[in-house]
Symmetry: C2
Subunit: 275 residues, 2 copies
């Protein structure tokens, strides 16, 4: 795909969103697709499928500090469409994001759904995953592993798995201050590895500082995806303007992109959800 | 879907594109999806699938007189991906449309692909399908039925079916002058019916004037989709600035939205490709 004619705002397809300057405004564009069997089980509640489809895209906008403008939906007709629309209505209303358009088609077999979300940058320059600077502190919002427990059926965390919260207000509050920012939909360690690689630095993370929902399964909580929290760096003199936890620091590029409790992690295998 | 929170630019989901005013610019947004089995046969050349996916979206932009800015692709991995990227490269290069981003996922079974295209309005107000005015003339670009013959295997028309040409330059040249405009991807008669209904007028069409690729099968040519030509209306004093054919006129709303050779067509059933 990288050999295709790319828009400069595509950032080489290395980032989660595209940046589009239109007159004096800067738009943020993202598209996430989800497939039955890959992203949800056949017996999932269509309400939750709609919610997660929108939330995952809004989370990408959040990682850029963007305010959502609207979404376009690609919908394949099927079982539970009324329930799907109900979930869609709920999350669009909750985050005050209108539907701009899209397409509804007939399709055979397991369904693939897609959503394009469009937002307006709240701060220029737009945060990138490649802007972690040596000496910055590394932070994460929220508590990790909640989606994992919800997926396993823990009633206290079902909501975290089925109806994740995009960190839109946090992203907007942070955009002015961050170095690097990204959402950690694929797991903290994998996404930290990617941030370090893109920034050409080493991220040193103290796993004991990461807030986790299941302390006895800390390692899994750091690798499980679907939490949709924000990972970001701030210069050491800046106090974070949102609720978050400092989990490490940015060091000069060393032997490995990631140092976890002092141990070098040299490749991304086994760090998170690769897809 | 119409009960969802809609953006004012969604035009009530009655149009092919959404209109988004950003500062002093006006953007046009559209999303078309295509599914294996519904929109292409399993043995189709992936090059052509990519071409048609992009062309159908660019055709929607053409119907608004928009200049393309870029596209976001939703791609499910599968057979012939290299060939798909080859076709994608060809059409993006041909129309000078860069890739902005998108998502690539794993999916089981028949694949669904989607594309979001973004363009810039070349003229304000942006043409709508609802602006046919009494006394206007009705025009169509090109020759209809070529995609039908190509689908049937006629070597002279394979290209028309597999690699349709979005009427971008025609759309831009027309945007300043038209009344109503839309592309006729679902067949001339069905789309004319929709234009008449949206405009609250009657479109009177003389079928003998419509340029068709198979005169002995005129009726089919008027109903077959996939030609991606433009249907539009112009005030009677305006000469069309593009190659096209006058096929009828706009009359006050009568008994039926469509008059075909003097016969009223009261409902859309059997007029074209409903999906």
């Amino acid at each position: 795909m990288r050999k295709l004619p790319l828009h400069p705002g595509a950032r080489g397809l290395e980032d989660d969103c595209a940046i589009l300057e239109i007159g004096s405004e800067t738009l943020i564009l993202t598209h996430d697709s989800m497939a039955e069997g890959t992203h949800w089980l056949p017996d999932a509640d269509p309400y939750d499928i709609a919610w997660k489809l929108v939330a995952s895209n809004l989370s990408d906008l959040a990682s850029k500090g963007a305010e959502p403008i609207g979404v376009l939906l690609s919908h394949a007709l099927g079982r539970g469409d009324d329930r799907f629309v109900e979930g869609l209505h709920a999350i669009l209303a909750k985050y005050d994001v209108p539907l701009l358009g899209g397409d509804t088609i007939k399709a055979d077999g397991p369904r693939t759904l897609g959503l394009t979300a469009i937002g307006r940058a709240s701060h220029i320059p737009v945060p990138a995953r490649s802007w972690a600077r040596i000496g910055d502190n590394v932070y994460v919002t929220g508590t990790l592993g909640r989606a994992m427990l919800g997926f396993e059926g823990d009633p206290a965390h079902l909501e975290a798995y089925n109806r994740p919260v995009p960190r839109l207000s946090e992203g907007q509050a942070l955009a002015l201050h961050v170095g690097a920012m990204m959402d950690i939909s694929d797991g903290l360690l994998l996404d930290a590895f990617r941030m370090a690689t893109a920034s050409e630095v080493t991220l040193s993370i103290d796993s004991s500082k990461v807030p986790v929902a299941a302390p006895q399964r800390r390692s899994e909580c750091l690798r499980w995806g679907d939490d949709y929290e924000l990972l970001f760096t701030l210069p050491s003199e800046v106090s974070p303007p949102v609720n978050c936890t400092r989990i490490g620091s940015v060091e000069s590029q060393g032997f490995a992109p990631l140092m976890l409790d002092g141990n070098p992690i040299v490749n991304a295998e086994g760090l998170g959800y690769q897809h």
